[in-house]
Subunit: 464 residues, 2 copies
């Protein structure tokens, strides 16, 4: 069996801007200044590493909260750092310390070393999540990490083992777990409306071609060109390279997060087997050559490894199956493709419909709306007005809210380290499966058997 | 690896009514009286083996045609045989010869031996399709066989090898290939509207619980009880036992037939790998215990092997992937779940929507209706009025029409032996995959390499 190992060194060397600094190998000593306090508190001092497009959306949620002080910002792209500073200023909040103007890739370590942080949010390119989270946890600074948790399977073990060793809180900032219909469906699952769960589906089906390519103009991060990597801007600068070098389910958590919550993965259940199939890769090349001047551009010769559609299937200890679909290189409407099905009925989000035995007419769909209203999650009922206008239809309010509230209360993180590595490890495992001619693999038990006794905690208290 | 071998002997012994006769093992000598004629003809003399609920629907299509004489009927259930005779009589057609009143399982062989048949349609329980088709082909009687082609993988090789050896025409009567939207989508595929195909989905998602169980009363074949097997009637008499003994994609052709036509399987393309996952089995037991008196019924103790939802994934030589979903034991609306996706867009039947780059607004669905009208297949335009009222929304008119027209013209069967065994072999292969802990398997090349040079013929001439 071939093992696909993402090579961080090669990856970085493909991007001259990012390769400016060397990756430090030595672990920091735990920073005493950042030791987690024992008692609950009303306010937290947070730092943000990565102030690009995604970081700025999260920052918007942070600066409008009274219980958060944004005390430090770090980015090695000065334009993005400046945007973020402007956001804080516009919100009338004190100017945070900044790191990275010198484009030093170790800048984030200086930020962690400086202390004075009750937590750090990581919203950098994927390949930096694991080393940054590890460094923060070693410095005893609680981590809210954007998806994904790491690149290689070993990354995931390293992040997990660091968390277990240091005890530093870690939350994966998976926002779709907080989507309004996803949370209503969770209430329905918990109320037993679907009966015993059997099969679930989710995915990331989103035409990202104008995200993966642009002109490199910082004023226009989406579309308008065929540049990526060194000459690309924002996500095109780093994300697209993953489509060149990797073939797998590159973005699993939006789909698997909700499905894992529905099926209590790591909390009475676990993934046992995983398989992935990939189509050939056509979409990104096609996109390039269809753009003005694209056919003559050097990028028309780039060979993309990522199959346009990747289908991942998982089996669970308790007998459920889950399908994930990754589809980001083709023209299509956005759809996460959720399906939640049990012995008593099913919900699908594509047609916004539901069927419940004994309620619905036999063999007929009902509109989901009445169920949405009836099973609307308490946190949505409570915070809908505040969430209005937040990123991604309000989801970003809730994911930041949950991280901040759990941090303030010294409570367990609602999407914790086991969730994070289990969901995110789907990527390297799917790469292995595809590289081995679509072979099925055992899914590692990151909990070391604790899945048998751990209990669900996500969104149970009505507060976050 | 465990090989799941369906045991026909055990299966039959579970059904006392069916086990009344022994299965003959000796092959018939080719019947000279049935030798295929060399020239086209205006009319064909057909026999029908299996005059149950499905056979009667096909018979309705046969008796209303002027180019078909139904000259022989065979069934070992006298009530069903009588129904079928009544159909012919009501249509004002001559009374056919009948076989099977004595419940002799060899009755169909006597029918084949008697000669005078230009073709035979087989609509018996699945486990009889292979031996009956083999006997008919050996007797040089062209076969129109209801789905499926066989039970075990060896069955499929046997059916194929018999066809190759005898040269007797064989068509799989897969009606969904003739569904109006499925055929419109085929026209769109052939017109290049989706660009280069990448990913397809289909399935059989149909709540069959009231088909799998009834009271055993011949007047009420659907629901109203929890009997199956010996005491069940119609499909409950035989079909349900497959859910007891087998775990796999038991009914692949409705989904894979159209997908195979879209992707030119066996005609420039082929399946290379197959994988199947199954959920636990809950639905059928749940159904039994929810019925009046069900919890106390002996069938409440039956252990069903068929996972409620079976997900099969296929890879193709040309780089496409296909997902099939089998879901027949749970409450749900009917959906074959088609998805046809290429470099330029996709169609999904669940939301009856389509997206085509350059036509649709970016990231938005369009209603499929305008496309249905524009790309309506010529055979539907031509025969829609005749098809009206035919079984399954007109599909049954077209599948019988195609078989009869090809037979009359001595033309190649539009859904031929390679299609039949390739699609139907998904069942035993999926059983093997599931039994081997969801392992991925190589897909056999039934064409012996001919897939490279064979050309598409399905529904190309505008006649059938």
């Amino acid at each position: 069996m071939t093992t696909t190992q993402f090579n961080r060194r090669n990856f970085l060397s493909a991007s001259a801007a990012l390769a400016g600094g060397a990756m430090a190998g030595s672990a920091l000593l735990p920073g005493a200044a950042n030791a987690a306090p024992a008692a609950a508190r009303d306010k937290v001092r947070l730092g943000l590493i990565g102030t690009g497009m995604r970081g700025q959306v999260l920052l918007a949620e942070l600066v409008r909260r009274d219980d958060v002080e944004v005390v430090a910002l770090c980015d090695i792209e000065p334009i993005m750092l400046k945007h973020a500073l402007g956001q804080v200023e516009k919100a009338g909040k004190p100017r945070p310390r900044t790191y990275g103007e010198d484009r030093d890739q170790k800048a984030y370590k200086r930020m962690l070393d400086a202390g004075g942080l009750d937590g750090v949010i990581i919203a950098t390119p994927w390949e930096f999540h694991a080393p940054m989270a590890i460094a923060a946890m070693q410095a005893k600074i609680p981590v809210g990490c954007e998806v994904v948790a790491g690149i290689t399977l070993q990354d995931h073990w390293d992040v997990l083992n660091t968390q277990l060793k240091t005890g530093t809180p870690y939350m994966l900032l998976e926002n779709v777990c907080y989507r309004r219909d996803v949370m209503a469906a969770l209430q329905m699952v918990r109320a037993g409306l679907f009966g015993e769960l059997l099969h679930l589906q989710g995915g990331y089906q989103h035409d990202l071609r104008a995200v993966k390519f642009n002109s490199g103009n910082p004023a226009k991060p989406y579309g308008g060109g065929v540049e990526f990597g060194e000459k690309g801007w924002s996500e095109a600068h780093w994300r697209t390279q993953h489509s060149v070098e990797r073939n797998g389910e590159l973005y699993p958590s939006h789909g698997i997060g909700p499905c894992a919550m529905y099926t209590n993965i790591n909390r009475g259940n676990r993934f046992t087997r995983i398989n992935a199939f990939a189509t050939k890769a056509r979409g990104l090349h096609d996109y390039i050559v269809k753009q003005p001047g694209g056919a003559q551009h050097a990028n028309a010769k780039v060979k993309f490894k990522l199959g346009d559609i990747v289908t991942t299937t998982l089996a669970c200890e308790n007998g459920e199956t889950i399908i994930l679909q990754h589809d980001t290189s083709l023209p299509r409407p956005y759809s996460l493709g959720f399906r939640v099905q049990g012995t008593d009925g099913l919900w699908m989000d594509l047609n916004n419909s539901i069927h419940i035995e004994g309620v619905s007419k036999p063999h007929q769909w009902d509109d989901f709306k009445a169920y949405q209203d009836k099973y609307d999650h308490p946190v949505w009922r409570k915070y809908a007005a505040q969430a209005e206008g937040a990123g991604h239809g309000g989801m970003d309010f809730f994911v930041i809210h949950a991280f901040v509230e759990a941090l303030k209360a010294n409570a367990p993180m609602p999407i914790d380290i086991y969730d994070a590595v289990t969901w995110s490890a789907i990527t390297p495992l799917s790469e292995q499966s595809i590289a081995a001619n679509f072979q099925t693999l055992d899914f590692p038990d990151f909990t070391g058997g604790q899945w048998k006794s751990r209990k669900p905690i996500f969104a149970l208290d009505g507060k976050y």
